[in-house]
Amino acid sequence: MTLLGHLSLWLAFLVGLWGAVTGFVGGAQGRADLQQSARHATFALFAALVVAVVSLEVAIFRHDFSLEYVAAYTSRNLPTFYLWSALYAGQKGSLLFWATVLSLFAVLAQLLTSRRHRVYLPYVAGVTCLVATFFISVMLFAANPFQRLAFAPLDGSGMNPQLQNPGMVFHPPMLYLGYISITIPFAFAIAALLSKQLDTEWLTAIRKWTLVSWLFLSIGLLIGMWWAYVELGWGGYWAWDPVENAALLPWLVMTAFLHSVMIQEKRGMLKKWNLGLIIGAWLLSIFGTFLTRSGVIASVHSFTQSPVGWFFGGFLLLAAVASFALYAIRLPLLATEARLESMVSREASFFFNNLLLIGLAFSVLWGTLFPILSEWVRGVKITYGPATFNFVNIPLGLVLLLLTGIGPLIAWRRASLPNLRRQFAVPVTSGVFMLLILLVAGMRDLGPLLAISIGAFVFATVIQEFARGARARHRQYGEPIAFAVVQLLTRNRRRYGGYIVHIAIVLLFVAFAGMAFKTETQATLRPGDSVTLKSPYGHLYTFTHLGISQYNALNREVTAALVEVRRDGKQIGRLRTEKRQHVDALGRPTFEPSTAVGIRSDLREDLYVVLGGLVNGTEEAVYRFTINPLVWWVWFGGFVLVIGGLIVLWPGGGSAPGARGRTQRAQAGYTVKLEARP
């Protein structure tokens, strides 16, 4: 199987090269035979890579430790669940996973693209095959997952305990799916540039793809945050780590694109900008891969430092130069069809929204690279820590949140003063009212104060939009209000799904603000001893150490501490936190002991208990107790975000063809055309 896998990689490499050449030449010369060959090459590429993946998985499940990759990331007693995820637990396997998923997307792009966009497909095949070939070449020449060891050890090293978490089974694939699927919109952008078909057709072809990428990236980021929270034990979910930032960068750019694309669709503006955003998002996804795999910046998430990073550095440079050179050559063809009519219009607000999203992306990139820049300029290494990131990015984020509310309140083309007054009255009142409540309640921290008040403003804008739309349908068609809301969602998924995403963003901002009120304490407790901690809501929590137990479980030796929790004197439950010593099948320790956190979560706050260790091998335990306010809302906000994204993405939602009455009915409540007519 190993030999088969290795041969499949070579076959995939050759097929990928063929697909790239035939795709570009066939597209340029209009030769149907080459175009067809390129299309078939994507299918063959996918098949060859699937064979390689199956070969590696078989080796993993058979515990074939003669393979260096299998010996390095698995062991005989690794649970089956994690044997699956071992495929992408290490550098080499993750490259194979990446290339395979890319080839799958390449096939889907060929199969799912509608007939009217067929003109782009040869180039799309060319680009996807070229990118996949690059990944395969990295494997073949620098990081081969089928590399053999001189001898087969009795057992493997096992998987890093921190990766033995359900979050880590789903986080990398989701993030990869997001990263990788950006290649398809990028391929269409390059296809549009090469074919000179630069009207809005290529945008229509990629709209779903961009949403898919954005959604996967969102899910990947959220699961990553959850994993960091429950697994790493530091009590937070976002540390502005370079690798976290690398995933956030394309997400921000994609979010900007999803807004600006509406302007191109509706008004024919921002053609250059949108193309630039798609190219930029893809380059940032490769940049993220470069950061993760090069070791150029220290990160807890990165793979082992290896020469692979420099392959990515070179590829990134070449791809950037080639893409932007092509972009520059085609600029004269990207003239704007329409002009802006008023500064007070939704278009203008979208311009500023894009400015802030890209500004935030730049700011995150700047902070991530600033230590390197400092070393180049001054020869001095510095640390750009979370406090600095917060200092720079929180103001930008708050302005962006404000624009999230302002944008939907302003009419397309031109808003009049009475319209503005009517639109803003309730949301502004809601925001100010919230601000006053918080001030009266004694909140004085500026960041959370603004985040929650602006959040109330944005929330009110969304509710107002739903209420007005539903009322209009109720008036016009007599639909009950609840049914009218459902109708709004189903008839115009893009708009109202987008509003649900806005609600999710509000929830996330408010939840982030909650962490400003985190409280914690450390304590050494003997069985029966207690420690108290006051929560930001004024509750007094009492944690009582009940005792220590030790037992063996699966592939680890566990030391578990049990804590009884009382809130204001009333028992509310028990929390267990563990120290885990992972061992191999021979009982030998494989990694340093890791910590499993005890968490009790409710709508208001999380109790987060960590067993630090024991005093002199006795039952006297060292704990850290933390109260994290509003963390539940981060996960709920993430859930709402995904639901909103799915609503936008869900097929259909437009009017039935030919049914004019139904179209008008569907549009009622959300479309007002302000076109001047003779």
Binding site: A298, G367, K381, G385, R526, Q550, L614, V672
Partner: protein, 186 residues
């Protein structure tokens, strides 16, 4: 007399302490295999929870390579030996009467500027803090000017919008139309 009371007091305290130690030893049993629970930790003391020390330690980066500050590292990664040592160093420096700033300066002198979680706000480091905001601000101003020019072009130079001829209506009629449209939702 005083001397006598003092001696008796000391004796009582010593007996009480010995009793307490004996009682404690009896009540806190050893676990089956201490090695499984990782490195043995010293008991937490009051200074470990002191907010002033925590503030200092949150400004200093742990040198183990985790990327965390000393406080977070020593209360998270219980295998790390660097952060407890740096914590002790903070306590030692504080015991010599140094202020928070002097303590962080000591760490900078020993480990370089990267010992700080945030670079000092001076010289080139100011670029790290303010370049993004300044860039966004300048870009915002440029965007505003550009958009204003575009809107003027439409109002002055362009007789049509999207190829639609201008409406054959008076200003009053147009305003009335706009007001009517404004009354509609959306």
């Amino acid at each position: 007399m005083n001397d006598h009371v003092s001696r008796r007091g000391f004796f009582v305290a010593a007996v009480a302490a010995a009793g307490a130690v004996l009682q404690d030893s009896a009540s806190v049993g050893r676990v089956y295999d201490p090695g499984r629970a990782g490195r043995a930790l010293p008991p937490v003391t009051a200074v470990d929870n002191d907010a002033a020390f925590q503030r200092i330690e949150k400004r200093i980066r742990c040198s183990c390579g985790c990327g965390l500050d000393v406080y977070t590292c020593r209360t998270t990664d219980f295998n790390c030996t660097y952060s407890p040592a740096m914590h002790k160093e903070v306590l030692r420096l504080a015991a010599t009467g140094k202020t928070a700033q002097q303590i962080t300066d000591e760490f900078v002198a020993q480990y370089g500027e990267q010992a700080l979680m945030s670079p000092p706000r001076r010289g080139f480091n100011l670029a790290g803090y303010f370049v993004p905001s300044v860039v966004v601000l300048i870009a915002g101003i440029l965007l505003f000017l550009r958009l204003r020019r575009w809107t003027r072009d439409v109002q002055v130079g362009s007789p049509t919008v999207d190829g639609v001829p201008p409406p054959n209506a008076s200003a009053a009629e147009l305003e009335r139309l706009r007001q009517e449209l404004d009354r509609l939702p959306g």
